[in-house]
Symmetry: C2
Subunit: 420 residues, 2 copies
C-alpha cells in the first residue's frame, strides 16, 4: 500500500473514532485510562525490553548521553507513566462543561458548552512517556489522536501504544482513538501536516527548534506550538533583597533545562551595586556562569561580557545573562525586545509597579514575587500538560486537557422565527 | 519604496500601535469610537462622492447589479455605519475581564485575564461598511489592524478610513492602530499572509470561496476563516407541524443570501407524507424551488429530483434541497456527511431526541425549535460581528469583540520558590 493511502486510512479511522468519542461518557473514558495504567504495569517487561533496544541503537548512532538519559525507561519511570494515566482518569472531564448560559428577549436560550476539537496530530521527540501523556490527555478531552514520536524511541513508543490500545478496547472504545504512525518515513509527517483530507483538526509539535520550524512552515492546518522559553526575572529597586536572592537562585538553578528557567536577570540600576555582587557570589558558588552587559561588568568585574546574541539565547544551562536597567521602564523595553513571550517575572515590594509590570508585559505568564519555574501545568493545577503554548491563538501557557477542547452553541427555542 | 519595505513599515507601525493599545483605557477607546462616528457623519458627502466613483468604475468593469448594490452607499447606510460605531463604543470592554482566579496550596494566586491578540490582518470584499466595523471591533478589543478591502471599493474604503483615523488621533491614539493597505498590488496580500516579520498575529478573511481558499493555502500565520453555511433543518416525527412549517419558511426564505439560511430540509419518514405536501405548497407559492431525493419526489411528484451535488451546495437562493430520512439517526448521518459545520437545527416536541441532536451534531451552532437564521452575532447579543467562524480553533460561530481577545496568566506570590 502506498504511504498516501496508508495515511489517509489512518485519518479516516481517526475521524470515525472522534465521532464516537464525542458521545463517550466520562465514566467510560476514565475506565479506559485506568485499564491503560494496568496494562502499562502488566506489560512493563515488554516495554523495558523495547526501550533497551532503542537505547542500544541510540548508542550505536552516537546520540548524546543527555538524549539517551531522556530516552531511557526504568521500573520507576514505567510506574510514573501508569500513575500519570490514573491521575488523568481522576481529573474532571472538561467535555460538557458549560462556559455560559443566557436568554435573549425573544425567549431563545443559549448554552455555550465545551466539546472536543476532533482529531489531533501530535509530533514529538525523545521521551517515550509523551506517548502515554498525549494519548491520555486527548482521550480525556474526547479527541482522537495520531501520534508520531521520534525515530530514536520507535520501539518504546510502540510498546507503550500497545498498552494504550488494549485499555481502549477493554472499555469498548475504538482502537483508532489513539493511533501511532508506524513508518519512519519522514514523508508521513508531511502528509499529516496537510491534514489528511480534513481528517486532522490540529497539529501539536513538541521538540527542538528545527522540528517546530518545519511544522510551522509546512502545516496547512492549525498548529499549537511550543517555542522557546526565553524568560526574564526583573529585580526592581523596591525589591526585598533576600527574597529576590532566593527567587533568582531558584528561577535559574532549580532545573536549568526546563522552559520556565530564567535566562536573563534584569536589575534596577538603583539596586544593582547592592544586589549584583550578592547574586553573583551565590550563583557562581554553584557553578553558574554570569554574562553581563557593560554596566553589570563595571559593578562586578569578574562577570564576563555578554554578546547581544546571549540575550537572545535560551541557554537551558547554568548560564545567566545579566543586564542593568533603569527602573521598570528599562525592564519593560528590554523584555519587549528580547522576551519569547513565555514567562517573565518581577520582584518588588511596590504593588503599583508590580501591577504595571503584570499589565504591560505581553507574555503568556507574568509573575510577581515568585520563581519563573512555576511555569508548569502541574503547578497551575492542570494535572498533566501536553506542552506550554507560546502562540497567541486558542490556548496560551500550559496546555492541559481543558485546553484541548472547543465549544459550540446550543440554542433552545419554542418556535422562534427571526423577524425580517 | 519597494512593496516589501512599505509593507514591513506597515507591520512595524501596527506592532507599535498594538503595544500602546494594550494599555489604553476603555474610556479612551470609547471616546475614539464616538469621535469616528461624528467624523463619518461630518464627512458623509466626501464618502458618498468616493463611493459614487467606485460605483461608476464597477459599472464600467461590468460588475453584477447584486455586487453593485452591496457596494453602494447612501445617507441611510452612512448613518448606519456611524450608529454601529456608537453601539460598539457602548459595549462592555472585553479587555481586562477575568475568566478565572484561584489560589494554589503554596499561596500563589492565579488570575486568567483577557488581553488583546495584537495585530489583526483583515482581508475582505465588497461592502464598505466592513472597513468601519472591522476597524472598530479591533480597536474595542485593543488590537491594531491592517485592512485590505476589495479593489472595487478602494475609494469608499479610503474615505471611511480617513474618518476612522481622524477619530483615533482626536483621542490621542496612534493613527497606525487602524491602517489600510493603499496599493492595489495583489502581492501585498501575499506579504500580509506571511505575517510581515512576526508583526501580524492573525488573519481574518471575509469574502467568497476563492479568497478563503487562497488565504488558507498561503497563510503562514493563524487564520480565523468563515467558510460556507450549508445549514440543515430536520423535522422530526415528533414535531409540531404548524411550528415546523413556520420555522422552515423562515429558515429558508427570510433572507436567502445569508449564511444561516437553511439549504437542506430533512424530514422524518414518519411525518413526510403529512408534512412535505404542506411545506411544498407554502414555499412554492413564494417562488421557492424544491429539489428532492427519490423518496421526496415519490411523495410529491411536482418536486424536481436533486443531484447529490445539490446537497453539497450553498445555494444562497430560493432553492431548498429536501431529503426524507429515517428518524434522528438518518438525520444525523445525512448531516455528518453534508453539513459544513455552521448551523443545524431540529424541530421536535420530544426533549430527549432534541438533546441527542444537540449533543451529536458537530456544528458551531445547533438549534432546537427555532430558525437557523438566528445564526448571527446580533441575535446572540454580541453586538456587531466580524464574521462567523467555521473552524474549530480559538473561536467558533459569531465572532464579536470578545472573541478577538486571548488571555494571559498573572501569578502573584510572596517569595514562592519551586521545590526541587
Amino acid at each position: 500500500m502506498s504511504l498516501d493511502t496508508d495515511m489517509n486510512i489512518t485519518g479516516t479511522q481517526a475521524r470515525a473514532a472522534a465521532d464516537s468519542l464525542r458521545l463517550t461518557s466520562s465514566e467510560t473514558k476514565s475506565e479506559a485510562l485506568c485499564a491503560m495504567a494496568s496494562q502499562i504495569r502488566s506489560t512493563a517487561s515488554t516495554i523495558l525490553a523495547a526501550n533497551a533496544e532503542d537505547c542500544t541503537h541510540a548508542h550505536t548512532k552516537g546520540l548524546s548521553e543527555a538524549m539517551i538519559d531522556r530516552l531511557k525507561l526504568n521500573p520507576a519511570r514505567i510506574e510514573s507513566i501508569a500513575k500519570s494515566l490514573e491521575d488523568i482518569a481522576a481529573m474532571t472531564d472538561p467535555i460538557g462543561l458549560i462556559d455560559k448560559t443566557w436568554t435573549q428577549p425573544n425567549g431563545l436560550d443559549f448554552t455555550k458548552v465545551r466539546v472536543p476539537i476532533g482529531v489531533i496530530g501530535m509530533i514529538y521527540e525523545s521521551r517515550p512517556n509523551v506517548t502515554a501523556d498525549a494519548g491520555a490527555l486527548c482521550l480525556k478531552s474526547g479527541n482522537a489522536c495520531i501520534l508520531r514520536g521520534g525515530s530514536e524511541s520507535t520501539r518504546s513508543n510502540r510498546a507503550i501504544h500497545a498498552a494504550l490500545v488494549s485499555g481502549l478496547t477493554q472499555s469498548g472504545l475504538p482502537a483508532a482513538a489513539i493511533q501511532i504512525i508506524q513508518t519512519t518515513d519522514r514523508a508521513a509527517v508531511g502528509l499529516l501536516l496537510q491534514g489528511l483530507n480534513n481528517c486532522v483538526d490540529l497539529i501539536i509539535p513538541r521538540g527542538g527548534k528545527s522540528l517546530i520550524a518545519r511544522v510551522q512552515k509546512d502545516a496547512r492546518i492549525p498548529v499549537l506550538a511550543h517555542l522557546e522559553g526565553l524568560c526574564h526575572s526583573y529585580v526592581d529597586g523596591a525589591a526585598n533583597v533576600d527574597k529576590a536572592l532566593d527567587i533568582i537562585e531558584n528561577a535559574k538553578l532549580r532545573r536549568t533545562g526546563v522552559c520556565g528557567a530564567t535566562e536573563t536577570l534584569l536589575i534596577d540600576a538603583a539596586l544593582a551595586a547592592d544586589f549584583l555582587p550578592q547574586i553573583y557570589a551565590r550563583l557562581s558558588a554553584q557553578g553558574c556562569e554570569l554574562r553581563g552587559d557593560m554596566r553589570a561588568c563595571t559593578i562586578t568585574p569578574d562577570i564576563s561580557l555578554a554578546a547581544d546574541e546571549d540575550f537572545r539565547t535560551e541557554h537551558l544551562a547554568a548560564i545567566l545573562n545579566v543586564a542593568i536597567v533603569d527602573g521598570i521602564s528599562g525592564a519593560l523595553s528590554h523584555i519587549s525586545e528580547y522576551s519569547s513571550g513565555h514567562t517573565d517575572a518581577i520582584i518588588t515590594e511596590d504593588p503599583a509597579i508590580a501591577q504595571h509590570f503584570l499589565n504591560a508585559v505581553d507574555s503568556a505568564i507574568v509573575i510577581h514575587n515568585a520563581s519563573t519555574q512555576f511555569a508548569d501545568g502541574g503547578e497551575f493545577g492542570f494535572g498533566a500538560e501536553i506542552g506550554i503554548a507560546t502562540g497567541r491563538l486558542h490556548a496560551r501557557g500550559p496546555v492541559g486537557a481543558e485546553h484541548l477542547t472547543t465549544y459550540k452553541y446550543q440554542l433552545r427555542g419554542d418556535g422562534q422565527i427571526r423577524p425580517k
